[in-house]
Amino acid sequence: MSVPDGSTLLDIYQTATTIRQCDERFLAMLTAGEIAMTYYSPRGQEVISAAVSANLQPADYVVTTYRGIHDHIAKGVPLDLLWAEFLGRATGTCKGKGGPMHITHPASGLMVTTGLVGAGLPIANGFALASLMKADGRVTVCNFGDGATNIGAFHEALNLAALWNLPVVFVCQNNLYGEKTPFARHTKVAHIVDRATSYRMDAVRADGNDAEQMWQVSREAVGKARAGGGPTLVEAVTFRFRGHNFGDDSSYIPPEQMARALTEDSVPRLRALLLEAGHATEDELAELEKQVAVQIDEAVQFALDSPFPDEAEIRRDVYRDEVTV
């Protein structure tokens, strides 16, 4: 199995640190009362998206879920348009009509963000089916959480994807909590990858905090799908540091579990690896982080300076033709 080179790891770090800094900025602005929204922090899942996307082409499709900003950023949704949509502005990816839970930016391949647990999997199959029928060589990646693996749509979709040999990679970002209930209280199945066995689908369990491993695992799965080898279920195990949504204090998470998870935290871990392996110096990483902060400053300012949608916008996009209301 090939290993990611220094430049690849640096790219993954740049994406992951962009996600983390965006998250910190959202949390700070929400805490200060400068903005208001239902916000689902990706903290803990940054490296998964960054490493998977490092193996995708711009034309490849991504479907994700309401906790999805890490997937949006990793797939290349422009930060200014993303921030504008999160803030409900006319300049956002969806003209302010979707919001944080429904980011769509086809130009980046980010096709659907759903607010319904598990609903993305059957739709991801559709993108993959179109690619199969058109032989366009695209791969679809579908992201979802561990909570989605106990809903019917997950099972219908896995069965169909395996049956039709679809070019899709299902990435379960297992953050060990579905809403406020721990994984072990959702199912007696020990590992999510075990689910794939019954559908005769390849599956691999990976440390979602290990950038090298995530890159390798997703490279293999994406490559296999592109080559006509069919779907894979990837279980990327990580942790959810900032509750189900903003305002959730995670009081139900045992402090020792939280403390242990922090020692595995993916972004600092990748940073240490880059330094240790000599892929970058402390100064170079500090400079990279500074540049990311500047980009986010600009995106936030763009969003804040953008107008809210005109009221006439409400009549558009219900159907192809405008409606009267």
């Binding site: 769509t104 319904l116 739709i123 993108f127 049956l163």
Partner: protein, 339 residues
């Protein structure tokens, strides 16, 4: 309830089911992006429960006529994703009650993705589904749920009344850029009628005046159109001339045609097989009341099935279903009212 054939003058008489198949065949021949998926639809699986897709997998191959597992969410989800990616999928959900299994995909996704994406994506899918009472299929294989879908902005809901309507409307649904629910009343699959020109589409959102009349406007769709026409012919012998409007598209519905007709007749009866409460008839009746209140000679009458699950026993199913007698009674009631 018996069914009514369209008047026939030419030689091209086909059944309602054959007309649906013709539309699928024409659409698939015209556009390689059209494909169909659903349970049992391939010829190896007998060409569909109602044989509507018979012959299509043999002609177009199993790549474009995809028999699926019994997985309604997976069927609709696959149609949605493929549609966003540029295809024009036609998903067959064997019976309308089974659409309930896929409601998340239909209501939260197909209906809303265009809006939620600010028009960045669209979902040009057609969901064909069969249903209807009258042949003892009971409470879970007979429901008319069109009002559920019509209550969801973003969906188009279509219900044809004859072979020609089925073919022309289905073609329009397939090539429409929005998600369409196409409801086939299974008890009229055998209805025969004449077809229009090959490939002829009937525009969505436009009602048809199926019969001219000056005294009462009867608004119906699907199987209720034929029933209403029979009653209208009988009443004409007594000098009561009913105008029968075939709504064709339930959502968005043709308010102009309906309001213009009722504006003339001052009397309206809405007829559908679905249960009365919170139904399509309530919406149409309310709109007529809002727009024409001072001009009406009588309150709008609704003819519908009773507010019950569909019973199995023929003795009970008869009681559940609306009847020609109900239509006749309602027309007489409004026709008898004078201003």
């Amino acid at each position: 309830m018996t069914t009514v054939a369209q008047p026939v003058t030419g030689a091209r008489r086909v059944t309602f089911g054959e007309a649906c198949r013709l539309a699928l065949e024409e659409a698939m021949a015209a556009d390689p992006n059209v494909f169909i998926l659903g349970e049992d639809i391939g010829d190896a699986e007998t060409g569909g429960t109602f044989k509507v897709t018979k012959g299509l997998s043999t002609r177009f191959g199993t790549d474009r006529v995809r028999t699926t597992p019994i997985s309604e969410q997976a069927i609709i989800g696959a149609a949605i994703g493929a549609a966003i990616a540029g295809m024009r999928p036609v998903a067959e959900i064997m019976l309308m009650n089974f659409t309930t299994v896929a409601m998340d995909q239909i209501v939260n996704h197909a209906a809303k993705l265009r809006f939620m994406s600010g028009g960045m994506t669209s979902v040009p899918i057609t969901i064909r589904t069969a249903t209807g009472a009258g042949r003892g299929t009971g409470a879970q294989h007979s429901d008319m749920l069109e009002a559920w879908f019509a209550h969801t902005p973003g969906l188009k809901v279509v219900m044809p009344s004859s072979p020609a309507e089925a073919r022309g409307l289905l073609l329009s649904c397939i090539f429409d850029d929005d998600p369409c629910i196409f409801v086939e009343k299974k008890e009229i699959y055998g209805m025969r009628g004449e077809l229009g020109e090959p490939g002829e589409r009937i525009p969505l959102g436009q009602a048809r005046v199926a019969r001219r009349g000056e005294h009462v406007t009867v608004i119906a769709y699907g199987g209720a159109v034929g029933e209403s026409l029979v009653v209208a012919s009988q009443l004409a012998q007594e000098g009561i001339e009913a105008e029968v409007i075939d709504l064709r598209t339930i959502s968005p519905w043709d308010r102009e045609t309906v309001l213009s007709s009722v504006g003339r007749t001052k009397r309206a009866v809405v007829v559908h097989e679905a249960v009365r409460q919170f139904g399509v008839g309530a919406e149409i009746s309310a709109t007529i009341g809002e727009e024409l209140f001072g001009e009406l000679a009588a309150p709008v009458q609704r003819v519908a099935s009773k507010n019950l699950p569909v019973p199995f026993s023929p003795a009970l199913e008869r009681v559940f279903l609306y009847s020609r007698d109900d239509i006749e009674q309602a027309v007489r009631t409004v026709a008898g009212a004078s201003r």
